[in-house]
């Protein structure tokens, strides 16, 4: 019996890499301390932690970008040290960054062999052999993309798989993936996870980093949780759940809140009527089709949808960046369809864009000047800006949205993601809007900051602010909104009250169909 069972039982996975007492200091600043964990062959180890918890520092140490101050990395029983990422790659450790490092003007084949071109003696590149190997790799990954396809013609998800293929072509045994799903649609995430499963079966170990906790839990075998540079927990998948991770990440129980109540909602503040928005890419198609939506003062509406559902396009149109092809947008019963962005802001309609680096922040301006950017006229007297009035405004904004900063003069780059997001929100709130629309306000910010942002929105609603925000995380639909709308293919496909379940929302979004 015993003998029988031992053959059935899977042999305990073997440790391929161990981090032993890893410590990292930047000058006098301690960024990592006493980090100890193992990476097993053919298994996924996920690093959890808020922004600034030390995940990226740890990742950079493991991949040879920076060196640890103390402690050692043991690879297959031997202590190793890397002086550069190529050292780590030579030992089979490859990192795939969030911003992919592909040359989009080159094809798949050239990207896979970039910098390590196969040659036929005399220095001429053996394109045929490269193409053959590239094709094999892509087939292995179940993504049969032709090796001569230009990378810029691929979807982000496919590009990611090309990166993985490149890593595999270097015989990587450990793959570090930084936020690989942040730009992927649900279907693409599915594909990626299948690839991850394949890689595991091949004995490749994966170090996974994600803000999307639920998603990461689906594929991880081990969890390492970091908080403020210290490893707070390390456990196998079977011992943990979402609450466990969050508890160790934030160190306190967190709650995204519930719909604010105890006050009367006002009249309709924003009314979108039969809105059509044509697709730039395909003539005659609409990205938003016959969409109507009324939001009352003091109401919080959440729009849930997958990527490509038309949420961003809808919000950018409402804010005035793009013009609708048909339909009206009414703000406090005034048609604002022909107003530009500045006029809409003046009338009280503001947008917090999805990509804060690209659309939200001016990196060359200080925290304070970013905050005051949308309301310069409020502190301008006789054509000149008043620095005292501005400072007053900035300080009250920093205070109101709880930005952790050394003051208005600090560089915007010195803030964490969550605080940067609060700067963008604070900037728009400083214009005293009636309606605020936010595109994925929780993207790329940690749980604590997310809860704070939602609290801010609740407070705003209590004061009569109409709030519309979009999200791709179902858990957020069940927090503060009074109403949950599901958007799919440019239309609103369902509307729910707060008591709705996650499954109902996901079903209405077409997610289960994709799955």
């Amino acid at each position: 019996m015993n003998i029988d069972r031992s053959t059935v039982e899977v042999a305990p996975p073997e440790v391929i890499l161990s981090a032993r007492n890893i410590e990292k200091r930047f000058g006098a600043v301690q960024a990592l301390k006493e980090v100890n964990f193992d990476i097993y062959r053919g298994q996924v180890t996920t690093l959890f932690g808020e922004n600034g918890a030390g995940k990226s520092t740890l990742m950079k140490i493991l991949s040879g970008v920076i060196a640890q101050t103390a402690g050692e990395i043991v690879l297959e029983g031997e202590s190793v040290s890397f002086s550069s990422p190529s050292d780590a790659e030579a030992l089979g450790i490859t990192i795939i960054h969030q911003e992919l490092s592909l040359a989009s003007n080159l094809n798949v084949r050239d990207n896979i062999f970039m910098g390590r071109e196969l040659t036929k003696g005399r220095g001429s590149v053996d394109y045929k052999e490269e193409a053959r190997q590239a094709e094999l790799l892509m087939e292995e990954l179940d993504e049969p993309i032709h090796p001569l396809t230009l990378v810029e013609d691929l979807r982000v998800g496919q590009q990611q798989i090309v990166e993985i293929a490149r890593a595999l072509s270097k015989n990587s045994r450990i793959l570090i993936m930084d936020e690989p799903t942040s730009a992927l649609s649900a279907t693409e995430v599915e594909t990626l996870f299948k690839v991850v499963q394949d890689l595991k079966n091949k004995g490749v170990s994966i170090v996974y980093i994600s803000h999307h906790l639920e998603e990461a839990l689906q594929i991880t075998d081990h969890a390492v949780v970091l908080r403020d540079g210290v490893m707070t927990a390390y456990a196998p998948r079977s011992d943990i759940d979402l609450q466990w991770i969050v508890r160790h990440m934030v160190g306190e129980s967190f709650d995204l809140g519930s719909p604010p109540t105890g006050y009367e909602q006002g009249p309709t503040a924003l009314s979108i009527q039969n809105l059509y928005l044509s697709d730039d890419k395909v003539a005659g198609r609409y990205v938003v089709e016959d969409l109507s939506l009324d939001v009352r003062a003091g109401e919080i509406v959440c729009i849930y949808g997958l990527m490509g559902a038309g949420r961003t396009e809808l919000l950018e149109c409402v804010a005035g960046r793009t013009r609708q092809s048909k339909g009206d947008i009414l703000l406090n019963s005034t048609d604002v369809s022909h107003y530009n962005i500045a006029q809409r802001i003046e009338r009280g309609l503001v947008l917090v864009p999805e990509d804060r680096q690209r659309d939200g922040l001016v990196p060359t301006l200080s925290v304070g000047r970013n905050l005051s950017l949308a309301s310069i006229h409020a502190f301008t007297r006789k054509g000149l800006t008043s620095s005292s009035l501005e400072a007053e405004m900035i300080n009250s904004a920093i205070d109101k949205v709880h930005i952790k900063t050394d003051g208005g003069e600090a560089a915007i780059g010195s803030l964490s993601g969550g605080n940067q997001q609060k700067v963008v929100i604070g900037k728009m709130l400083a214009t005293h809007p009636d309606v605020i629309i936010l595109d994925e306000p929780s993207r790329g910010i940690d749980v604590g900051a997310k809860a704070e942002v939602f609290k801010l929105l609740s407070q705003g609603a209590r004061r009569g602010l109409a709030v519309v925000f979009t999200t791709s995380e179902v858990s957020e639909c069940l927090s503060i909104p009074h109403r949950v709308l599901v958007m799919s293919k440019g239309r609103i496909s369902a509307e729910f009250k707060p008591g709705v379940t996650k499954d109902e929302i996901m079903a209405a979004s077409g997610e289960s169909v994709a799955a």
């Binding site: 964990f37 600034g52 210290v230 001016v362 950017l373």
Partner: protein, 370 residues
Amino acid sequence: MSYQNMSHHNNNALQVEKGSIDIVKILLEGRAFFALIVIIIVFSMLSPVYFSTGNFLTMSSHVAVFGLLGIGMLFVILTGGIDLSVGSTLALCGVFAGMLLEGVEIEAFNLAFFPSVWVVVVLTCLLGGLVGAINGVLVAYFKVPAFVATLGMLYVARGAALLLTDGLTFNSLSGDPALGNTGFEWLGFNKLFDIPVGVLILFCAAVICMLALSRTPFGRWIYSTGGNARAAELSGVPVNRVKLSVYIISGVCAALAGIVLASQLTSAGPTAGTTYELTAIAAVVIGGASLMGGRGTVRNTLLGAFVIGFLADGLVIIGVSAYWQMVFTGSVIVFAVMLNNVQYSAKHKSSQQAEKTAEIKREGSRASAT
């Protein structure tokens, strides 16, 4: 494996090195100023005539032309653009002013029209503004890359200047007391309170522009447009109007420079100011502005213009050949840009440091809260 809890936190990391006064940083930030000092000291040692009020004033009136062009260029560069047409615009405006001073004959009515100097100045500035407006419309509304749009204008304006004069130079800019259009030389040649009028024009323009950049909403719009046009637009900044405006400002500055130069030389030629656009860009860059936009000040651009002007004139005074002058000036420009990179990457590093500090502070506050 090893499970560690909060008690392991230690806040010793709070003691981030404040550092004593960082000399390297001061030298780096004030480098245009220090470069100017070094230039003055070196040439004063090499030549007995360099260090004198008279020479400084002469050199400053040379700087006036580059300074005016540089200030206009700064506005454009702050938005992330470039204006290659200012040298040609300067020439076009110069000959336009010369033409007006010689009198405009309207043959159909058999009338000759001699505008007074102030009218000439205003009309010339309007022409400069118009040239800039064409650049601005091309860049802001037709989305032509600034480099290409203003490169085209470099040729067009130069061609127009040559067409206006048939390739000749206007030499009689003094006007005629009988016609009431005298006094043009006064602008570049004469002195007011012992200072060349051209230099005073430069400083007036500089003060106005400084105020516009640092104290008006328009100035803030320029910096934000250059820093991140998309974010600026979504914050209600009229990005296209800002871009149009900066090219108009650059055009007007070029017109002013053209007037000053023509007045200094008492002649207006269609080939004046060739390659001055590059000198203007150099002044802006030496002043530490970023060609990517969003960073730079009028004060530093002026310093940049003085560095170039005082260096060039110094080399002339000590008798260095014109060929070597070009080599020196070129080296200074490249060196300046190199220092810009050092400065910005240093800033980047210090902001990363600050991020770590903030992180540690958060840790501290959280620990004390629990």
